[in-house]
């Protein structure tokens, strides 16, 4: 197996360089989005949609909230052994 591995061809994300490049592109995109907001015309339904970077903050916070609630509240309640129903 280890011999196979050595001979195996390298794939895209096996190079840390490629991973870094993708990450850098994403970071640039995030910054562009933050800046772009100030150059667009908003037609908000709600006042908070006009707050600067509302969507960015909401997305970030909501994601962290989902993960934390699922991990620390839901999982302890509903998790059972894999053969629970057998």
């Amino acid at each position: 197996m280890s011999e196979d591995r050595r001979e195996e061809k390298e794939y895209f994300f096996d190079h840390p360089r490629n991973v870094k490049a993708v990450a850098a592109c994403c970071l640039v995109l995030l910054v562009i989005l933050l800046v772009a907001e100030f150059f667009i015309h908003k037609h908000a339904h709600f006042p908070w949609e006009d707050w600067p970077e509302f969507y960015a903050v909401f997305g970030f916070v909501a994601f962290v909230f989902v993960v934390l609630v699922a991990k620390y509240i839901l999982r302890p309640i509903v998790e059972r052994r894999e053969d629970y129903y057998d």
Partner: protein, 591 residues
């Protein structure tokens, strides 16, 4: 003018013919059936056709209008791509049920009356159970039975509603019903069970992951979306649907985060997506209905594509759990790309199909200034990104390297995924042909405004950034081999409790009966029949002997002798006759 048949007929008849065709023509035939169905459909003019009058009621097999046509189109597209996807499968049962299932869904969508709707509704249930059972594993058989039980109940609730409705109104025509009394409530609930409302939803994540890799693609489309259609037709603007839908979008998100089986993750995501549609139907404005049904169109395609990509992984590796997968992009790049396109579509990234449809529903909610619902839907959008947008592609194709180097998906699967992926992009880039198909004209809504695009992109990309940070910080919950309880616990364990109680009560009665009657009574009777002559004889003779003065040793000897004589059946005739006479005399005197 081509002469046409009811839309459901082509797929059902075609499906039933599949086993009769052998050899290389079989595949061609299977692909041809949905194509012929589509050609048939576009030649039926709008209006009510194929009307049969039975007992004074009109049975309408083709009520063709913009709403039913939109569902009809996408159902044919999915039937074709799913058939292509399943072409390598050598199991006629799956092909037949797949096509008949799609045909039944068309039957419901084009039904203009509640009776034919109900018949096709039940056919949907039967076909989906067969698709689940086709995997032929113990878990699948059990999950299929549970699915059948839930949908049998749902079907009966619907039937009860239809019967009461017929009794009250004297008509079985299916139009807008609205919530107004027992009949409509029962019909509402019947539709709700099939559209996986909260509490009634557990059949979906329970059963869909247990079906075959190809069967789940069919399942992911027809049952729930057909229920959405019936809600849109019968209950548009029913306010409670807004809340049911909003809750549906939110709660599966949490379950999906901690779920290990990726097809179960997609099942929860399915409930979440149907939530947007149900919510839009509840709002009931023209824009909201447009949003809901356009979302059906886009959703059918990207959800099928997600299940296709996971089906390909399951087909090639035999595994579907996050804990067992990872790093498959190396040898399955095409499947991985398609999965990412579907994942980005469902998340609502600009330029893809989810963006141009989901935002219509959210805008409709915004137009009505429903603050809480709006926040729930936005929150759920982040949730979709979490489980369907990131988790599914990441844990299957990237993440830790599982060491598996499976072959790329079979050619037919790749073609099917390619078609679906193309449609996701095409609808996203140029949604106007889809908008033209919607029931109402699309006015006052443009998907690609700067605010929409930047807002949605910010929301999604910063949520994705949160994922990266949580992963790097080690906070993201590790994948675990486990089951997570859901509402199905109540009927799975309830079933066991019922079994336990039935076991104790009925087997208890059985045990007591066995002890007392089966084993106790014969023993008593046997002894009695053996001892009865002796008791009667000695009982009669003893007073006589004592009266005759026999005592002590002599009396004992007489008793022993008589007992022995009775046991061996050698009693002198005289004694028997005397005893019988005395017995008769006593009997006579007592009377």
């Amino acid at each position: 003018m081509i002469s046409t048949v009811p839309p459901a007929a082509v797929l059902i008849a075609g499906g039933l013919l599949v086993p009769l065709i052998k050899g290389k023509w079989k595949s061609a035939f299977m692909l041809l059936v949905p194509v012929i169905g589509f050609i048939n459909l576009i030649h039926i003019p709008e209006g009510a056709h194929f009307v049969f009058t039975v007992f004074g009621q009109d049975i309408i097999f083709a009520r063709v209008d913009k709403m039913s046509l939109l569902f009809g189109y996408v159902y044919h597209i999915i039937a074709f791509t799913s058939m292509l996807y399943a072409l390598h499968v050598r199991d006629d049962l799956q092909h037949v049920t797949g096509l008949v299932y799609a045909g039944s869904a068309l039957g419901v969508v084009f039904a203009g009356d509640l009776l034919s709707l109900f018949l096709f509704w039940e056919m949907l249930t039967i076909c989906s159970v067969l698709l689940i059972w086709s995997r032929r594993r113990t878990q699948s058989i059990r999950a299929g039975y549970r699915y059948l039980l839930v949908h049998a109940v749902g079907g009966l609730v619907l039937l009860a509603g239809i019967v009461i409705h017929l009794k009250q109104t004297g008509s079985i025509a299916f139009g807008h019903l609205g919530l107004n009394g027992t009949a409509s409530l029962l019909i509402f609930l019947g539709f709700g069970i099939n559209s996986a409302w909260p509490i009634f939803h557990a059949w979906l994540p329970d059963a869909y992951p247990e079906a075959t890799p190809t069967g789940t693609v069919f399942l992911s489309v027809y049952t729930t979306k057909t229920a959405v259609y019936t809600l849109a037709r019968g209950f548009a603007g029913t306010e409670i649907l807004i809340w049911i839908g909003a809750i549906m979008t939110v709660f599966p998100v949490f379950f999906a985060v901690i779920e290990n089986n990726l097809r179960r993750v997609l099942s929860y995501s399915l409930i979440n997506q149907v939530g947007y549609m149900v919510c839009g139907i509840g709002v009931g404005t023209q824009m909201a209905i447009n949003g809901a049904v356009s979302h059906v169109f886009a959703h059918c395609i990207y959800k099928a594509l997600l299940f296709m990509s996971m089906g390909a992984v399951l087909h090639r590796t035999g595994k579907i759990n996050c804990t067992a997968l990872g790093g498959l992009y190396r040898t399955m790049p095409f499947t991985a790309t398609c999965c990412i396109i579907a994942a980005a579509s469902i998340s609502g990234f600009p330029l893809l199909s989810g963006f141009v449809t989901k935002s219509m529903t959210i805008t409709a909610v915004g137009n009505h200034h429903m603050v809480v619902v709006w926040f729930l839907l936005m929150f759920a959008s982040v949730g979709v990104l979490e489980h369907a947008g990131i988790k599914v592609p990441y844990f299957a194709f990237f993440g830790h390297d599982s060491g598996m180097r499976p072959k790329e998906a079979p050619l037919n699967m790749r073609f099917a995924m390619g078609i679906a992926a193309f449609l996701c992009i095409a609808i996203g880039l140029y949604p106007y042909p889809l908008y033209d198909l919607l029931p109402y004209p699309v006015v006052d809504f443009a998907p690609y405004t700067g605010a929409h695009v930047v807002g949605m992109a910010q929301l999604l990309l910063f949520a994705a950034a949160a994922f990266v940070l949580l992963m790097l910080a080690g906070v993201y919950p590790p994948e675990k081999r486990c089951v997570n309880l859901d509402v199905d616990w109540f009927y799975r364990m309830g079933g066991r409790l019922f079994y336990y109680i039935a076991d104790k009560v009925f087997n208890g009665i059985n045990g007591v009966s066995d002890r007392l009657i089966a084993r106790g009574l014969p023993k008593v009777l046997g002894q009695l029949s053996r001892r009865l002559p002796e008791i009667l004889t000695l009982g009669t003779l003893l007073p006589l002997w004592t009266a005759a003065g026999t005592k002590g040793e002599a009396l004992q000897r007489k008793i022993v002798k008589t007992r022995a004589a009775l046991e061996t059946g050698t009693a002198p005739v005289g004694i028997s006759a005397a005893v019988a006479t005395i017995f008769l005399v006593l009997l006579f005197l007592m009377m």
